[in-house]
């Protein structure tokens, strides 16, 4: 079979990249008549950031140093003991370990499945737009609905996945068995994230110039090697963006899935750190410990982001 050029671009607005800001040579800055005016324009945005981000953060940090009375009758300063309690707790470390495994697996699978689907959809010649629309339309389903559908796949009575597992002699008990619950959680979390990654990978693929792919087709016989040496490096900016988004998603946005899966179930179920924050704070009314945990999470995310930008982005070529 001769190589056939992929179809015209799809979703061009997603492929647009921010251009580096160019400082005009003949300094064309707009001057405000009053020095107060720019701050006035900034005020609404600043207020939003302050009220919904900085203020709660400061609250979390400060209350992490206190033990709060569950009924709100006062608080006692305890210094770092909330942190030491949390960090020395074997249970907390177990949850942290699960969170790491969960995040790694969800990110890995949702990225690779999204990429695989995107590559395959991109190569489809006939009826490609129908395929793409079908694959993307999943993303239009509201997250809670998607989570509920995911839950139903693993329902003890009507879940098809449980049924399928039983054919292989796997008596799947989601909500009872630690491993089975973890498995279901990861599958649903991945399933929900794949369309998102698909959209971005697809638009990323379509922003790789057709002629570059054609040049590669002339230079390299193996399609796999071509993908690995030409297409993938050019997809790196998209992949890096998605990596950050997916890690954040696995850490935080899977809360709903976990909640539906483990709520009102027997105690020994896998949960992530975010869910632990919620459990301790709102179920256990231990606001101090909950705050300390969220501060720890904040630091983890902060470090992770810096790491990603310092060490991963450096190796990426932006066209």
């Amino acid at each position: 079979m001769a190589y056939v050029a992929p179809s015209p671009r799809f979703l061009p607005w997603l492929t647009r990249k921010p251009r580096p800001k160019v400082v005009a040579e003949g300094d064309k800055r707009v001057q405000f008549s009053s020095p107060v005016l720019p701050y006035l324009f900034l005020a609404p945005q600043l207020a939003v950031i302050f009220i919904f981000f900085y203020w709660p953060s400061v609250q979390a940090v400060s209350s992490s140093f206190y033990i709060e009375d569950p009924f709100g009758f006062g608080s006692t300063f305890v210094g770092m003991s909330n942190y030491t309690d949390v960090l020395t707790s074997a249970q907390y470390r177990g949850i942290a370990l699960f969170t790491v495994v969960f995040t790694a697996l969800v990110t890995l699978f949702s990225l690779s499945i999204g990429l695989l689907l995107a590559v395959k959809a991109d190569a489809v010649i006939r009826g490609s737009s129908a395929y793409k629309t079908m694959l993307i339309s999943v993303y239009a389903i509201a997250a809670p609905v998607a989570a509920l559908i995911g839950m139903m796949f693993f329902d003890q009575h009507i879940g098809p996945f449980v049924e399928v597992a039983s054919w292989f002699g796997w008596d799947m008990r989601v909500g009872l068995s630690y491993f089975d619950t973890a498995f279901a959680m990861i599958v649903v979390a991945v399933w929900k994230q794949v369309p998102y990654n698909f959209i971005f990978f697809l638009s990323g693929l379509q922003s790789v110039p057709v002629s570059v792919r054609e040049a590669a087709a002339i230079d390299c016989k193996s399609g796999f090697r071509r993908f690995w040496t030409v297409t993938l490096p050019l997809l790196a900016p998209t992949a890096f963006f998605l990596l950050i988004i997916n890690v954040t998603y696995s850490l935080f946005d899977t809360f709903g899935i976990i909640d539906v899966m483990v709520k009102d179930k027997a105690a020994n179920n896998p949960i992530t750190l975010v869910y632990k924050v919620y459990e301790d704070g709102f179920r256990g009314n231990d606001l101090g410990s909950s705050s300390a945990q969220s501060v720890i999470l904040m630091i983890v995310v902060f470090v992770l982001t810096i790491f990603q930008f310092r060490f991963v982005e450096r190796r990426i070529h932006y066209t």
């Binding site: 079979m1 040049a215 016989k221």
Partner: protein, 366 residues
């Protein structure tokens, strides 16, 4: 190096749209073939079918005697230079040049030698460790050519490689491509819509129109004996004048003017007459000629183009700078330099047994 045979090749797109109609071209080893035509004439499609980037709907393409219809582009032993260079943006110039060789498991020492040679030939040695984005358009073009050269392929395919360059650079790169091709002796197919580029580069020209071949031939042959009104108007600048006329025996009527052909009339009745602007000269007062009304003048420096009308038909003539211009003029032309085309088909009507018009500069007939 190899010959390329294009046998009855057609391209039919989904929906029955036929872009290339049963094209036949036999390209000899080492020949420089230029496919030229207006946009949409199928020249790029044809090239891409040879490259393997486009499926061949009908017919057969042979490279070096081997049918390659179903062979992958990488295994056709061709190298292609693209209009927008198509360099790999994430690789340095050196990596760009090496990529095709590495994938073919060429020994390291061989790769280094070939890259060094190509870099020297194209004068891109000092850019080898730069990324393409740090290069100018002309430099990128050189890298793209280098990528083709290092492969030492059986054939080079050029897809309008110069159209993204500015006019001055285009002229110098044109010369360079010609020089390189001469030196390497590699069979080449070059696609362009620029007739000047086509004329200057080609060993043989293939003029395409609407997916069909209008004419194949050496540049001068096509210039002097265009096979149709299409070729006549496409090749040469300014375009050949095409006017409607009527032949009565030995006399030609164009609007109100009458010319005597001195036995050079190939047919009779209504014909389309082709006149090159540079073949026209001002007639002496007692001579018969085309009565010309001047509209405007274009100064080209070395000569001037005078635009006007004969009867109600537009005509352009190239005049030397010392020719006095007037609002009403009379032009004469050597009858042997007239081109006759059938009115309906636009095909050339060949003069029976006259001296070939491709003879150069036998101008004045006393």
């Amino acid at each position: 190096m190899a010959s390329i045979d294009i046998n009855q090749v057609s391209k039919i797109y989904a929906g029955g749209n036929k872009a290339v109609h049963s094209v036949d071209i036999a390209i000899q080893d080492g020949e420089f073939i230029v496919l030229v035509g207006p946009s949409g004439c199928g020249k790029s499609t044809l090239l891409r079918m040879v490259a393997g980037l486009e499926e061949i709907s009908e017919g057969e393409v042979k490279i070096g005697g081997r049918t390659v219809n179903t062979v992958e582009p990488a295994e056709r032993d061709i190298a292609m230079v693209f209009q927008n260079y198509a360099l790999y943006p994430h690789m340095t110039v050196r990596q760009n040049l090496e990529y095709g060789l590495k994938n073919r498991k060429t020994p390291r020492s061989d790769i280094d030698a070939r890259v060094a040679e190509a870099a020297r030939m194209l004068e891109i040695d000092q850019y080898l460790d730069r990324k393409p984005r740090a290069l100018s358009g002309g430099q990128r073009q050189r890298v793209a050519m280098g990528r083709a050269i290092v492969r030492k392929p059986a054939a080079f395919l050029f897809d309008e490689p110069l159209s993204n360059l500015d006019a001055k650079l285009r002229v110098s790169m044109r010369g360079e491509i010609k020089r390189l091709q001469r030196r390497l002796g590699t069979t080449s197919i070059y696609v362009t819509h620029d007739q000047l580029e086509a004329m200057t580069l080609a060993d043989r020209l293939v003029v395409l129109n609407g997916g069909r071949i209008e004419q194949i031939g050496a540049p001068l042959e096509i210039y002097h004996q265009p096979a149709s009104t299409f070729v006549a108007s496409f090749i040469g600048s300014p375009a050949m004048n095409l006017v409607q006329g009527e032949l009565h025996g030995d006399r030609l009527a164009v609007g109100p003017s009458l010319l005597t052909l001195g036995g050079h009339a190939p047919t009779s009745g209504e014909v389309t007459i082709g006149l090159r602007a540079e073949d026209l000269r001002v007639a002496s007062p007692d001579e018969e000629g085309l009565l010309f009304r001047l509209d405007y003048v274009e100064e080209l420096g070395s000569q001037r183009l005078v635009h006007g009308h004969v009867g109600d038909q537009a005509l352009t003539a190239a005049m030397a700078l010392d020719v006095a211009l007037d609002d009403e003029m009379k032009f004469a032309i050597d009858p042997r330099r007239l081109h006759f085309f059938a009115r309906e088909t636009g095909k050339r009507v060949h003069a029976p047994a006259t001296a070939p018009a491709s003879q150069t500069s036998v101008m004045e007939v006393a």
